[in-house]
Symmetry: D2
Subunit: 247 residues, 4 copies
């Protein structure tokens, strides 16, 4: 049965990981879905409602501090009495993967803003709420962050994408160290492989072997596990990759 | 309901993590508990049986190849028709923590044998069985390895203990890369903190704050999550630490 | 004897590491010193000239693409026939170290721009020149980047500073992988400790033990070693810390 | 001019890295070369003497504590008045690279003994001497350890080799943390590539590109740099790889 008192918010909802995470968390909490455009979350909101859950979608560019603040003001109006149980940051942006000399300053700025500044803004709005839930939430209030291979490896041609993802990981580590002792669980997940979503249907990876792309539902299961970990045993970082992935 | 066809084996069972893991996995599988002495596992076997589970204990020093082979021959006799679903290596040994010049060659040998050679022997006996279960096991067959802070950090005075734990991690990584593509999930867990077990009752850690020691049941929950991960999203390594732990 | 054909450029020159690096490289090359304000490099330019070296200072904010391009246009005018042997990026900025909720979006932007976008701009202008020097430079042309503890560790209160430094490290790794095979040596140095410079004279670190702060000249010696490494044995990353530093 | 008061000892001398390191250090110190068999060091001893240096060779299996103790007793007799300035551990052994199930317990034991127990024994005999040299040695007394790709990565088929190399790295880290504050510099070098030595002449690596194998002399230059670092800026770890190496 879903909580009446607590809600979850997922930033970066489209047809992939964000959708699966929203569906998974909607089994226990009303959920708020954030995306830049309504067409990204409308179907997911409908899907959750059809399954008996509660969901609202709000348009916001997480890279923009004012837009994020406005989104959370809307949430406050929609859910005046609810407290925040879980915040998932699943935003990825600025994915210009090119030889370095072809990259423009705008590519750099887009990656840093879209990936890391977005998390900065999202964390500013969610951490105080998560901290306020520590005493009575059903599980330790959680900020869970989606990372990628490029979070820990700067490959050739990935200069700006890796810069954005490394910066996200730095924020996550720092927030884990500051907010862990307050009882808030901040966790970073290195998704090391291609996710099996509509956008990647045409990709052949891992020689086309079955389950060679990561199931978005599998990611959601691990996020839910992170959220439900006992505070005496928080995971700060884990990796997720297909059994056939080279690493 | 527990499987009739599959079993799990846990090496390194005493009153702590091994017990919690055995209890957790016994909800789904008959379990075999290995320890050097019967007094380490007898109570846990009884506890599992009292709860309606199936368990047998076998004495073996995992550092000794012949003893491990003999233990698995016994298992074969006890469970002639069962296949292996999960193998947990939770052995820690040779914990001489001293200034380097006070360490003896025997301390080095004990740490390497007790930690890493034990895993070598355990993996030799379990990986072929795990691989044989890939096609029909309820979850991807799993080898889960307990690590420690010293698995990734050679602190002053920890020379031989860290050498043993680093070597365990090396084996785990290598086996993950060799057996992942065969469908076997090899995972390494960095337990970064003091575990809340009878032996540590008197320790004051993290200023005595509540849940400042890691709950062995919390560790067991994460091991079970690792075991049940979909093969498209295996975790190779995660850390576990109390929310108040400095890191 | 200093080269007539090649020059070195050091971004981020003040009274500390930049000065020592400039002095060290000026023994072999004419050097160009970049800093936001002339008062940062004027004394160093004078010091190098007094020692018989050749040096020019140029004011530029490395975070600003146009300013960096203008600086390199000036260099082209000053040194029309010289080729680039070594580029050192020693810029650090945006050092707001505070509880996360006291950090402003501006702090985030300043750290990312001052640290990482500065390197992006500097690399755009220097890598093509370095590549053009591969065939005839006395040592493999080098881009050497100053990092910090926060390049590999997101400590509590260091969210934005670590984000900037992680992003720098990502760029460095990616550029090393792209430009190494072209013969350009890209190296990242983790300076893990307080540097012994005028600004830190009053700090007591490592219990005030002698040499408990890192000598800027020692840093410069390691940079020079990196520059002179044979191309069959490039170092991508090294750490530097006082013998008494805890790590 | 070579020191009359201090000497260096290099364990693991053959026709490759050990030879180059011995030659490099013999420019400044009399050197002692250790290897299991005289045919490994005889030519190098002759080469050093021909160049005007001082060298002696001693046969010893570093994995055997008694053999190492005997070797250092011999050194004491040969150099009764000399103090130790630098100790280089360049031993590699037990290199069984095979599918895990083809590895035998003996392979495991050989790798752990040949790599890590050898360092344990070598460090026991050299660290007290190095510490005794701190006050008057020309450079901070140094223990420098040769590592490999397998020191930080457990690849498939490398289970026992990586276990040995990870254990070496653990010892090195722990000793660095214990002996750094005493003024002894303990450093670990990750040699990530094939070294250009007689044994590898026939190997084609990096598509046969020039300098695609690491020059042993280049390794020796970096070891010498590590040895001469100022104590305010010790490097604990660096990597070395050919410019064309994938990583």
């Amino acid at each position: 049965m879903a909580s009446k008192t607590f809600y979850a918010v997922i930033a970066g909802v489209g047809a992939g990981t964000g959708r699966s995470v929203a569906l998974r968390f909607s089994k226990s909490y009303p959920v708020v879905l954030l995306a830049r455009k309504p067409e990204s979350y409308n179907d997911v909101v409908a899907e959750i409602k059809a399954a008996g859950g509660e969901a609202i979608g709000i348009s916001a560019d997480t890279a923009d501090p004012a837009a994020v603040a406005a989104a959370f003001a809307t949430i406050k109006k929609e859910f005046p009495d609810k407290k925040l149980a879980a915040a998932i940051y699943n935003v990825g942006a600025g994915r210009a993967i090119k030889p370095f000399l072809e990259l423009e300053p705008k590519d750099f700025d887009d990656s840093l803003a879209g990936n890391a500044r977005g998390l900065f803004n999202f964390a500013k709005n969610t951490l105080p709420q998560l901290e306020a839930s520590v005493s009575d939430a059903p599980h330790p209030p959680s900020l869970i962050i989606t990372g990628a291979t490029a979070s820990v490896r700067g490959s050739a041609r990935f200069a700006v994408f890796a810069a954005g993802k490394f910066a996200v990981r730095a924020l996550g580590q720092s927030l884990a160290r500051e907010y862990g002792p307050k009882g808030v669980h901040v966790s970073h997940v290195i998704v090391d492989g291609v996710i099996d979503i509509p956008r990647t249907q045409g990709y052949t990876v891992n020689d086309g072997k079955p389950d060679g792309k990561i199931s978005a539902d599998a990611i959601a299961d691990s996020y839910w596990h992170l959220h439900t970990q006992h505070r005496s045993g928080f995971t700060q970082e884990l990796d997720l990759r297909p059994y056939v992935e080279k690493f």
